[in-house]
């Protein structure tokens, strides 16, 4: 069995009087694609933000690549190899597509490696190559989502986290984005996704965690997700 890239143990996050995460525990192994499925307000984004350092954790541990990271600032976590695609495709709107991508490889000083990564990104997202000189703020919603993912990949992450990547996209674009996720998974990138769309989660994930009211209530695989009567009723509408 591959070793854990990230281990989250008994994580607690509180927003004033609201317990957003309550003893959340999960792990992602090298090369895995793991999805956190949950309804709105279940704590999916809070969990990913806590891993990235945007949410202060009250209790618990986040161990990334054998290192405790819960006290590190966000940019240092990114430098260790965690890339995060936040909800709503946060790109740099007044910087062109190429500039956005280069910023994703900010820590890399070797120009040849940067060019190699750019070629890889353009093979995954040919549309971005066509729009290389265009300001990111002028891209469509789907293109922005692709750019946000591409920028995260430019850092050659050990763990790629994506928060609700299908949110607000039309079905055709959702399919396209998940095809890319599948391709990334096949290429060996370790992925942690948060997703409301349980169908899509099942398509790409090796393992799925169900998050409810800040607690991990179930860990299952693709078949388990699709065959569990409770999950079918609650998340698949069957």
């Amino acid at each position: 069995m591959e070793k854990n890239i990230i281990e989250i143990k008994n994580l607690k996050v509180r927003y004033e009087n609201i317990q957003a995460l309550n003893n959340a525990t999960l792990n992602v192994r090298k090369g895995e694609c793991v999805t956190i499925v949950g309804a709105n307000g279940a704590g999916k984004s809070s969990l990913l933000k806590a891993v990235m350092g945007f949410n202060k954790t009250d209790e618990g541990n986040i161990i990334f690549n054998n290192q405790n990271i819960e006290n590190l600032p966000t940019y240092k976590r990114a430098a260790l190899g965690i890339s995060f695609v936040p909800e709503g495709a946060r790109v740099f709107p007044k910087i062109n597509v190429l500039g956005n991508l280069l910023l994703g490889a900010y820590k890399e000083k070797d120009k040849e490696k940067i060019i190699e990564r750019l070629d890889y990104i353009y093979s995954l997202f040919p549309r971005l190559k066509e729009r290389e000189k265009q300001l990111a703020g002028t891209l469509s919603g789907g293109e922005r989502q692709m750019l946000a993912m591409a920028r995260a990949l430019m850092g050659k992450p050990l763990l790629l986290m994506m928060d609700e990547i299908s949110l607000g996209l039309m079905p055709k674009l959702v399919d396209m984005v998940f095809e890319v996720v599948e391709e990334l998974h096949k290429s060996g990138i370790t992925i942690l996704l948060s997703e409301q769309n349980a169908h899509k989660a099942a398509e790409v994930a090796d393992r799925i965690y169900i998050l409810e009211l800040g607690k991990i209530t179930k860990e299952t695989d693709k078949e388990g997700l699709l065959n569990d009567p409770y999950i079918k009723k609650a998340y698949l509408g069957k």
């Binding site: 940019y75 430098a79 936040p86 740099f92 007044k94 910087i95 280069l102 910023l103 994703g104 850092g155």
Partner: protein, 288 residues
């Protein structure tokens, strides 16, 4: 060249350095500052104190004044790590008042009487002419332009633009907002300190009122009118806003009124500045 014109052009040069230095903080790193005159004051007062109280030679005093202003600039840039936008604007106004208050109240800094007898540059024991001072001023303006350009096209400039555009996205890309915000304050305040040295040396006398809050507003107006984030914009803004009141001098009773109206119209019809996106001057240059 007549004394009036030389003085006017030196003043424009000093304000050009000031507006370009503020542009690094506001235009590149997106940290709104309404207290830039404080850094100008720190440069001017450091130079005045070092030369008049401690008799430190001109060049050494200038060097130490820039170092002092840079260090204070980094320290005063710390609030930008905790507050942003309107809260940062108010904080920087507070900084301007505090700095002005200190220089105005402590006898060490001359108090309300200010500091006089600040040395003018000399060459071979003789004071240089005003025209030579003008030449030196514009050499330093050129240096400021070069520093602005290098910063703008560097990785650090791109990172600062990214923080200005979306701090969260920059943070997750591994770009430290702490480092680049403070870097922009360091460079911006160092250049403002340089402007302070020029001012103190040229005037020979400074008082705290020279560096009041309305001066900070005027410097910010130069950046915004010209076009924040550009290099030509703040230069144009400094020339325009210093020279306009002089052109209006024949109708001097109304000159500040007309100047105010122009600023309001400008912000309505050219919100990104003359050299910013869709700026009238920039569009004309591109067409030609």
């Amino acid at each position: 060249m007549g004394d009036y014109l030389t003085t006017l052009l030196i003043t424009v040069g000093i304000y050009t350095i000031l507006s370009l230095s503020l542009n690094i903080i506001v235009g590149y790193a997106g940290q709104i500052s309404l207290g830039h005159a404080a850094f100008w004051a720190i440069g001017a007062y450091s130079f005045a104190v070092l030369t008049t109280k401690y008799s430190i030679p001109f060049v050494e005093a200038a060097f130490f004044s820039i170092v002092i202003t840079t260090l204070v600039g980094i320290f005063l840039g710390l609030p930008s790590l905790r507050v942003s936008e309107d809260f940062l604007a108010i904080t920087t106004i507070g900084i301007n008042f505090i700095v002005q208050g200190i220089f105005n109240s402590f006898d060490y800094f001359g108090g309300a009487m200010g500091i006089g007898n600040i040395p003018f540059p000399t060459m071979h024991g003789d004071m240089i002419s005003n025209n030579t001072f003008l030449f030196i001023t514009y050499l330093l303006v050129a240096l400021t332009i070069i520093i602005s350009y290098i910063f703008k096209v560097s990785w650090a400039g791109l990172a600062s633009f990214a923080i200005k555009d979306d701090e969260l996205a920059a943070d997750v890309s591994g770009i430290s907002p702490v480092i680049f915000k403070l870097l922009s304050f360091a460079i911006g305040s160092a250049l403002a300190g340089l402007a302070g040295i020029l001012y103190a040396s040229f005037m020979g006398f400074i008082s705290a009122n020279d560096f009041s809050f309305p001066v900070s507003v005027a410097i910010l107006a130069m950046v915004m009118v010209g076009g924040e984030g550009t290099i030509l914009g703040p230069i144009f803004g400094a020339f325009l806003l210093i020279l306009l009141p002089e052109f209006f001098r024949p109708i001097h009773s109304y000159r500040m009124f007309l100047y105010g109206i122009l600023l309001v119209l400008m912000m309505i019809y050219q919100p990104n500045g003359f050299f910013g996106k869709k700026g009238i001057v920039w569009s004309m240059i591109k067409k030609s």
